[in-house]
């Protein structure tokens, strides 16, 4: 039996007159990697913000493992097992590499602290490929390394659901391949992931299923091969870099 981890029902988000997310519904199953694609401004990040609790839905509901979460705060939602990265990378410049990673495991449901937290953080830093950079000031890390660090922080909470918002954007071809491999290894570990991406190669090779958003609404859903062949999807992407 497949277990539903996340269910979004008729979620709508309005910013004044602008409807950024319009009556969106979808589900994410355990161990599934689901992609959200769509042109810029179609509401993908807003949808991630609704799930993580950064924003509250105007209408509709969001459930995690059968529990209603759409009125909880971001910190409560994190404690119930959702972790995320941000489209514009957000590391903590005043903290060290290890502390940045520890931040993810101290306050959530794991509540690790002290030597054990340092030890677990060390393992994760190695896992995302940052070994040897523990002493580098976070602000001096390269862009991809900051993204790795943000991923390590998100993984630190051992999330039931991981949200990655354009985590692969802005990487050069070598880094991109490393990034895709890294996410694939997470997938193989069985982590449930929602992936917002523009990189179609990544969508094709990583996602079991994806939904396509345009102007806040869902216009297609299915396997990457199916939706990318859908004429309506092709139409919204005309003029975009696919």
């Amino acid at each position: 039996m497949v277990a539903t981890v996340l269910s979004v029902a008729n979620a709508t988000k309005r910013f004044g007159g602008l409807v950024a997310v319009n009556n969106l519904s979808f589900e994410v199953q355990q161990n599934e990697v689901m992609g959200i694609i769509g042109p810029n401004g179609s509401g993908k990040t807003t949808m991630m913000n609704l799930i993580s609790g950064a924003l509250r839905v105007s209408e509709g509901s969001i459930g995690l493992n059968g529990r209603f979460i759409s009125t909880l705060t971001a910190s409560q939602i994190n404690q119930r097992g959702i972790a995320r990265t941000f489209q514009l990378v957000r590391v903590l410049p005043g903290l060290g590499v290890v502390e940045n990673c520890m931040a993810g495991m101290v306050f959530g449901h794991r509540r690790l602290w002290g030597d054990q937290a340092r030890y677990e953080a060390g393992k994760l830093i190695e896992r995302v490929g940052l070994s040897g950079k523990e002493a580098v000031p976070v602000g001096s890390l390269t862009y991809i390394d900051q993204k790795r660090l943000e991923l390590a922080r998100a993984l630190a909470s051992s999330p039931k659901l991981l949200l990655l918002d354009e985590w692969l954007a802005g990487l050069n071809p070598t880094e991109l391949q490393e990034g895709i491999d890294l996410i694939r290894s997470l997938r193989e570990e069985g982590i449930t992931i929602i992936l917002v991406e523009h990189v179609m190669d990544a969508i094709r090779s990583l996602c079991d299923r994806c939904i396509v958003m345009a102007a806040g609404s869902k216009i297609a859903e299915g396997s990457p091969g199916e939706v990318l062949a859908d004429p309506e999807v092709v139409k919204v992407y005309i003029g975009e870099d696919v």
């Binding site: 950064a54 910190s75 957000r90 903590l92 101290v106 959530g108 922080r153």
Partner: protein
């Protein structure tokens, strides 16, 4: 920090504390008075830093809590015949409740809005208390007559400083301290790693309000006559901020490094060029902002670190 280092800093702290407690044995009246001022601002600036240091929320409400402490002792003793020590017990509780309420009210504010709002609230409280004093209770004036000497008050403040340092030391190595540092770096990230940002901030802000009111109450006998406009003076809030930032808020012992020279400088200016004390405050503020954004302590650590690197 390693275990050994922690023991070492605790021993150092204890030695310095004993030395500080010996000041009344050697100081004459003039220096005792300066030492008392230094002790008062050390406690105020250090407890202010416990909240504002890691979070970077610059509070200008210190005078409100300090003033509540002084005023409660004054009105309690003059208007209600209360005992000094009873009022010393009540004042910090009221200060903490007030700080808790201000903390809740300012939760959604950050940056300059927080600064202005805390200043505005403090001024509002000052005006309110003056008005009450002038219209209802104040006909006789607020006298705080005790047989405490400046040296006695000084010792109480040194003990209070020791408690504040211990609390600060404990907070710094606790989850709460870690949470505050994350909040100071990026509050959005803080929320997304499961930190209840409101609770963390309000706890520390309430503690700083508790301590400031206690300082205001303990030091009230020094003034003998309490004037609401004096104990609630916004200058107190500004001086606390300047001293703490001058020393540096990155370390627990940072603020005192700013308190001692600034208190001496102020004393000198007041004695010789009393018209210029506001000017000195302004210049000190500019110097901090432009040349010492991380305070003296931060600057020294920076220099040590770069020397360490260049000798490799």
């Amino acid at each position: 920090m390693s275990h050994e280092n922690e023991i070492k800093s605790l021993v150092w702290g204890a030695v310095l504390l004993v030395l500080a407690a010996c000041v009344p044995l050697v100081a004459n009246g003039y220096w005792m008075s300066i030492a008392l001022t230094i002790a008062m601002f050390t406690v105020l600036a250090t407890s202010w830093s416990l909240f504002s240091g890691p979070t970077h929320y610059i509070s200008l409400a210190t005078a409100a809590f300090f003033g509540v402490g002084g005023y409660l002792v004054g009105t309690g003793m003059s208007d209600y015949n209360m005992d000094f020590w009873t009022m010393v017990a009540i004042a910090p509780v009221v200060g903490a409740v007030l700080a808790f309420l201000i903390g809740i009210a300012t939760l959604r504010l950050s940056g300059v809005y927080f600064v202005i709002f805390t200043l505005g609230l403090a001024e509002m409280i000052r005006t309110l208390v003056s008005w009450i004093q002038n219209n209802f209770t104040g006909s006789r004036g607020l006298y705080v007559l005790t047989d405490l000497t400046e040296a006695d008050i000084y010792i109480y403040l040194v003990i209070l400083a020791a408690v504040v340092y211990l609390v600060g030391w404990w907070v710094n190595r606790s989850r709460l301290g870690f949470a505050l540092r994350i909040i100071g770096n990026d509050e959005t990230v803080a929320r997304h790693v499961g930190i209840n940002t409101a609770t963390s901030k309000v706890i520390l802000f309430t503690f700083s309000g508790f301590v400031a009111a206690l300082v205001g109450a303990l030091i009230a006998p020094r003034y003998t006559y309490i004037e609401p406009n004096g104990v609630f003076s916004p200058e107190i809030s500004f001086i606390v901020v300047i001293m703490a930032l001058l020393g540096g808020t990155g370390r627990l012992w940072g603020p005192i490094v700013g308190v001692i020279p600034f208190a001496l400088l102020q004393e000198y200016i007041n004695a010789n060029y009393s018209n210029y004390s506001t000017l000195v405050m302004g210049i000190a503020f500019l110097v901090i902002v432009y040349f010492l954004p991380k305070g003296v302590v931060g600057r020294i650590e920076q220099l040590l670190a770069s020397r360490g690197r260049s000798t490799w």
